[in-house]
Subunit: 346 residues, 2 copies
């Protein structure tokens, strides 16, 4: 296990985030100034897979801290239907580890032609997406070999958080951001014991991952990791949407993971944990709140962290849980069956 690329890349996350904070600030400041000058009416983000979950994070971070409405673009409008909507007044961001996502690149290209402000966030400054957008912000994550994205996901979140910090210009955000590398390292240490109890879920065939607000993104990302690494039928839900139907499927033993750090959603998540408890659901909890952790059959206690940065922390135990589900089932963690590192869709 310790020699898999996946395990190594998970462990590299504090280093990558620290590097971004140390080296990428001038580039981020330049993009932030361009955004201020452009003064977008809204933000559209195009992405696929893991990168789309980074976009979900931006929906809340840009919304709460900048008052900017964020839409997740529908790339097929640009490719399949060849009917790009009018994005001329938007900041249009394309996110992709490889920078090779052709459908995402097409959104950037159409938007740029319409006069939108375009930004690519990728790990490769020479990539097609980086070349298509007006601006590029690099992930500085070195090569990611494992097919399941981990360090590039938290690097994407970090770049987005740095952009929010540069635009919001509130001193406490900067201080909070500077602590993330240390907090991610602490979280890695606190997640070590997942290996001890991962076998409990060896035969789990379905799995719900629940979060909301900032950690709606985390629910989707952990769900995707478990899905692609351990081949489990996993679905992410917002706490609210789950109550509007899917909660019907919960009965004794139904396994659910709750992502519930301290913050504005804690009461809602605790109430949902109570409902799951009443129905006898199996509960895994990722939290830094003792009253929330009390609901878990298995728990990962994470460090205290400002809510807006909690997705960078809370995703870590999920990555590790997904890896151990693959390991305990005997699946290859670096190359899940049927997947390639770069998936090109149109």
């Amino acid at each position: 296990m310790s020699t898999s690329h996946l395990a190594q890349e998970i462990a590299q996350q504090p280093t990558v985030i620290a590097r971004l904070l140390a080296e990428n600030s001038p580039q981020v400041a330049r993009v932030a100034q361009a955004i201020r000058d452009f003064n977008p009416t809204f933000v559209a983000i195009a992405a696929r897979g893991t990168s789309d979950n980074a976009a979900r994070y931006a929906q809340y971070a840009f919304g709460v801290l900048l008052g900017l409405p964020v839409m997740l673009a529908a790339p097929s409008l640009h490719t399949i239907y060849q009917a790009p909507p009018n994005l001329a007044r938007a900041l249009v961001i394309g996110i992709s580890q490889s920078g090779q996502a052709e459908d995402v690149r097409r959104v950037l290209q159409d938007a740029r032609q319409q006069g939108a402000l375009t930004l690519a966030i990728t790990n490769y400054p020479d990539s097609p997406m980086a070349q298509t957008a007006i601006h590029h912000l690099a992930l500085l994550a070195d090569e990611e070999v494992s097919i399941a994205a981990t360090k590039t996901y938290t690097a994407q979140l970090t770049v987005l958080a740095m952009l929010v910090n540069a635009l919001a210009d509130r001193p406490h955000l900067r201080d909070e951001l500077s602590q993330v590398p240390r907090l991610v390292q602490e979280t890695l240490d606190l997640s070590a014991n997942i290996a001890d109890w991962a076998e409990r879920y060896r035969y789990m065939e379905k799995f719900a991952v629940l979060g909301r607000g900032y950690n709606y993104s985390t629910a989707f990302e952990i769900s995707l990791k478990v899905n692609e690494l351990a081949y489990i039928a996993t679905t992410a839900y917002s706490e609210a949407d789950f109550r509007h139907g899917p909660i019907a499927m919960v009965q004794t033993g139904f396994p659910a993971l709750l992502i519930a750090p301290q913050g504005a959603l804690l009461d809602n998540m605790r109430d949902l944990a109570e409902k799951l408890s009443e129905r006898g659901a199996e509960r895994i909890v990722i939290s830094n709140d003792p009253t929330m952790l009390a609901y878990g059959h298995k728990v990962v206690r994470v460090p205290e962290v400002a809510e807006w940065l909690s997705p960078l922390i809370c995703v870590i135990p999920g990555q590790i849980f997904a890896m151990h589900q693959a390991l305990t089932r005997g699946y290859p963690v670096d190359k899940p069956r049927g997947l390639s590192k770069v998936t090109i869709t149109e």
Copy 2:
């Protein structure tokens, strides 16, 4: 079965849609004129559960036919975080069967205060949401008693399609729309044989529903119906996103439903069906294309229909499949465990 409210309400859909087309045009024309006058930069739609899937339909119908970018609003920005993003230049639509969704109402309220053009689409003109928005369009669906929404979903799609028709002002759209009640009735008739083969899936514990473009909405809605009625761990994916990870879980016998009517996505969906076939997946196909239907172990052939209206047709067999999964498992179809007709979240 024939006496359940669910079965009756599924059967009422042609009548409800015909009534909307016959009676709601003046109101739709008035709202369309208000939208033209306001000239929104983008559209934000707030909704939960089934209504959120109607919003997903609008993302494509407004995008392809009107060039309007559509975002799905994040209600928690308005309620939990009390940080409403700036929607002043948007058409903001709230969709809810009951009109009582408090979080959706709050989005409308904030948007109206900001100067946005607001529209509620509900079944109750006296509902809180209808009273909060500047404009209201009624679903004219009579009372929906079954907890699982069916006729109000297709009514929501119809109202949105009527709005698109009124704004796009292309004669062929109107003609196509006028045929929907007849096509939905034909689809109901063609779906009758689902009862004969539903038992094949009696022990299915997980299920993927795949669509894209216009029928991304259909995939989500069928997934939700199967989930809430038959308590199966069901997930909807876009054809593109599925290739970016979740396809890893497909092996022999993995059950998937493909929604693939004729239209711009047919080639993509056929290619995905081929991939699923290579991996030995179990395939149910809803389509009006013979080459696509050939991929199905079980199929529902639906009538030919213009692609932009195909979600109104393709969802019908999914509703009926979900009902039969509940029936064959002995679950109450009108009142799934743990659900209420009106779910209020904040």
